[in-house]
């Protein structure tokens, strides 16, 4: 991982939160190289004890937040609340669930009850 071209951008956050280095790396590569997100930057989510990303999906003007995690992690409602505490002006974020075969599955987590679009 250290030799990969994406590593230098992620290095500061990986050093701070080494346990979630895997999902961080996988999600960053998926967003920047495969999904082609724009203006991607790494953010520090201290309550959630990991790094995350802020960027724009291709074709949109607003930026979104992506929080990576392992498939095998147990996440609780209080953990989700702590992520929203780290991001005070954000109404929803994408949870990037990373698996060992390199699949990344995205789920959108919203604050409160949100009616699904038609």
């Amino acid at each position: 991982m250290e030799g990969h071209v994406s590593y230098p951008i992620l290095a500061p956050v990986i050093k701070k939160y080494p346990a979630t280095a895997g999902p961080l790396f996988q999600t960053y590569n998926d967003l920047s190289l495969a999904q082609r997100w724009e203006s991607l930057e790494v953010i520090d989510l201290s309550n959630a004890l990991r790094g995350g990303f802020r960027g724009r999906r291709p074709g949109t003007t607003e930026s979104s937040v992506v929080v990576p995690c392992f498939l095998t992690e147990s996440l609780s409602m209080s953990w989700i609340s702590s992520v929203f505490q780290d991001l005070p002006d954000v109404k929803d974020f994408y949870l990037a669930i990373c698996t060992e075969d390199s699949s990344v599955v995205y789920y959108r987590m919203s604050k409160g009850i949100v009616k699904p679009p038609m």
Binding site: M1, E2, H4, V5, P18, A21, G22, F25, Q26, N29, D30, L33, A34, L71, T72, S74, I97, C98, T99, E100, D101, S102, S103, V105
Partner: protein, 375 residues
């Protein structure tokens, strides 16, 4: 990587192409002997030769996987047994091809198909709305409503993509091809161990020393990857409920029965079983791995929080069965019985010999609807 070659061939030809491309079930290939030595082979002697591609991978403990970084090895491992997945692609590593806009890959075909289906659904919804409005208007006047005209199925609108020829595309219009392929083939730890121990066609390199790892080191490191505390030494006495052992046991079991085993995350299950491969047909079975401890004390003292090890609720099971029956897959519960730690010696635990002490039981699930299933 060679998917573009199939696009302009009719379905019969594509099937034949795939049969040819994926003709080897495993990376190891036995080469046929010429007929005189086949006679010798009949009496039990003989010199058929084994072609071992001797692939090289690097272990990454952060992503708990082994990376194959050369296109030669990626191609061999994918086409001979469907091992691994491109880390920037849906299945076969095709990221580099997708960057060259002249080549159409499976991801792009799926995107086109989804667009066509979305458009069809919108047109159909629109047509139904108009028909309903017309029927209302006709009813108000007292006349019969005209029959609604619905748009035809998207398959009729679908244009088989053609590979652009030299006449279509000018040299200056082509974007500059990226020089570096930033994608690798990612093997899960069970896949990698199967290739190293079961088939002997893969060597794994340590990420820190860049030296090839011995079998014992691989066995230890793969288990340590799941350890809650950082970097214990290899050669540690294994806990029998290490997730790597459970995952490997199930993988080895189905692989040796001839199934192609892939991850089942997209269908809320642990693994999917393919009869010949993802290229030939959809997976028939969706497997949920359920670990069961022979000795309850082992579960209490476990540092791992094994998924599905606790009591199962019907809502959870029902949800998974719903998801999978919509895609015509049968859900199978595979119970893995973890032997008591007191019954397996520490010597056995240092090697894969401990795997023979586990046992496996399969329970297929089928939803029974009395009204429909009368025969």
């Amino acid at each position: 990587m060679q998917l573009n070659a199939n696009q302009h061939i009719k379905s019969g030809g594509r099937k034949q192409n795939n049969n040819e491309k994926y003709r080897h079930a495993f990376p190891l290939v036995f080469t046929a002997r010429p007929w005189p030595s086949r006679l010798i082979g009949v009496v039990g002697l003989g010199t058929g030769s084994l072609d071992n591609p001797e692939c090289l991978g690097i272990f990454d403990p952060h992503t708990k996987s082994v990376w194959i970084q050369t296109s030669r090895d990626s191609n061999i491992l994918w086409t001979r047994g469907f091992f691994g997945k491109g880390n920037l692609s849906r299945s076969e590593p095709s990221w580099h091809d997708r960057q060259k806009s002249s080549v159409l890959t499976s991801e792009e075909i799926t995107a086109q198909r989804r667009e066509a289906r979305k458009k069809f659904k919108q047109e159909r919804a629109q047509a139904l709305l108009e028909a309903a409005a017309q029927a209302e208007a006709a009813f108000a006047v007292g006349q019969e409503a005209p029959a609604p005209v619905l748009p035809s199925r998207p398959a009729e609108h679908l244009i088989i993509p053609k590979r652009p020829t030299k006449d279509d595309v000018l040299e200056e219009d082509l974007p500059k091809e990226p020089t570096e392929d930033l994608e690798h083939l990612q093997l899960t730890l069970p896949e990698a161990f199967f290739l190293v121990w079961g088939l002997g066609c893969l060597t794994i390199v340590d990420p820190n020393t860049h030296m090839p790892m011995s079998l014992g080191a691989v066995w230890g490191s793969f288990q340590n990857a799941y350890s809650p505390s950082p970097s214990p030494s290899p050669g540690l006495i294994s806990r029998l409920d290490n997730p790597f052992l459970i995952n490997y046991l199930v993988y080895h079991h189905y692989r040796s029965l001839g199934w192609i085993v892939k991850s089942g995350t997209k269908f809320c299950v642990d693994i999917l079983l393919y009869k010949r491969g993802p290229v030939f047909s959809h997976a028939e079975f969706a497997i949920l791995v359920i670990p069961v401890y022979e000795n309850a004390e082992d579960q209490k003292s476990s540092p791992f929080d094994l998924p599905n090890a606790g009591p199962i609720s019907w809502t959870w099971l029902g949800t998974i069965n719903r998801v999978n029956s919509q895609v015509q897959k049968t859900v199978i519960l595979t119970y893995v019985v973890i032997p008591s730690s007191t019954s397996v010696s520490s010597d056995d635990r240092r090697t894969p010999a401990c795997l023979s002490r586990f046992s496996l039981r399969e329970v297929p699930l089928k939803r029974f609807i009395p009204a429909r299933m009368r025969d």
